[in-house]
Symmetry: C2
Subunit: 195 residues, 2 copies
């Protein structure tokens, strides 16, 4: 049964190419004709695999959001110190950014173009994610593992610092992914200053 074996492969190709183009040019500036050309078919043929341009964005954004939320809940429930939880979360973010670069980038920067009700849904998941993330930091402060800083501010810094990996990705890296990961964890957890 060779048809079942790779049944949805064309749709996957479309989603992958779309993620690449949405990252390069942005969602709004990517036309369905551009995308079709990259996939190697006519624009009209795209609609045999997807319902609309926005459906592609939805697939990308929620795929990423669900993956991150699942991991966060797993870490939250684990038996670790707060600093160890934070470190694990950050390493996950960094690895995701490296391994699923296009998708994660698009989910982070282009979600504003989602239509309702997906827009509200995504925004809620995002808010919920940050709230749980902040609560882990708060717990660390309470247990005296973490400095008394404003937890939401720390969340913003950690999440955005990681999203900066795009620049590393583009610049053809003089350091390996593993070195990058260790550098980021060191800087964010222990700071720049030498004690």
């Amino acid at each position: 049964m060779p048809t079942t074996k790779r049944r949805s492969s064309k749709k996957e190709v479309i989603l992958t190419k779309a993620a690449q183009m949405f990252r390069e040019k942005g969602f709004a500036a990517t036309s369905m004709r551009d995308l079709a050309e990259r996939v190697g078919i006519e624009a009209a043929s795209l609609y045999n695999h997807i319902k609309s341009k926005n459906e592609i964005l939805e697939a990308i954004c929620f795929d990423v959001a669900n993956r991150f939320m699942l991991h966060l809940e797993e870490v939250e429930a684990s038996d670790k110190t707060s600093i160890a939880k934070l470190e694990r979360l950050m390493r996950f973010h960094i690895q995701e950014m490296i391994e699923n670069y296009e998708e994660v980038y698009v989910s982070d920067r282009e979600w504003k173009h989602l239509d309702e009700p997906f827009l509200s849904n995504f925004r809620n998941q995002r808010r919920q994610y940050r709230k749980i993330f902040a609560s882990i930091i708060e717990a660390g402060i309470a247990k005296n593992e973490i400095k008394k800083i404003d937890a939401p501010t720390a969340v913003i810094i950690l999440l955005h610092a990681v999203s900066g990996i795009e620049s590393w990705h583009r610049s053809q890296a003089k350091i390996t992914a593993q070195e990058l990961e260790n550098n980021m964890v060191t800087i964010l957890i222990d700071g720049l200053r030498k004690h």
Copy 2:
């Protein structure tokens, strides 16, 4: 002479409103008709003040880029420790992000929509900025003020962490701008862990 006094005021209104809309919806998704409505004139009338949609983006991006570059050169030439230079740069970034939010945000996220030769020009300024920034960190490592981390990675973290202030801006802030600034500097320079 009341005409000279506020000669370019309408153009300034257009640039300000455009920065707001480009931030909210992105450059590509903002139409000249949307913008005209916000300014309170017909779309065609915009062209009495600006040459094209792209010219607006150019004005925003290079205004910000020049301001940042000027400040960086001033700090670089100053007589301070590396850590003090870094702290001053970061405080400048944070203040700019708070005071000129729309403009700085657009310059950071929408510059990809610049046309040539502006696109290459902007990219070069950006690369140059990061190179100088990294050299300040390298100098700090050489003088033993800063940990032995990869300087380009540190630059990415510092710059992107600050750009995360958009989230603080949107969330109607429970802390003041000054508290935010101090929190960010602490976290990035001294880290999260309590020693």
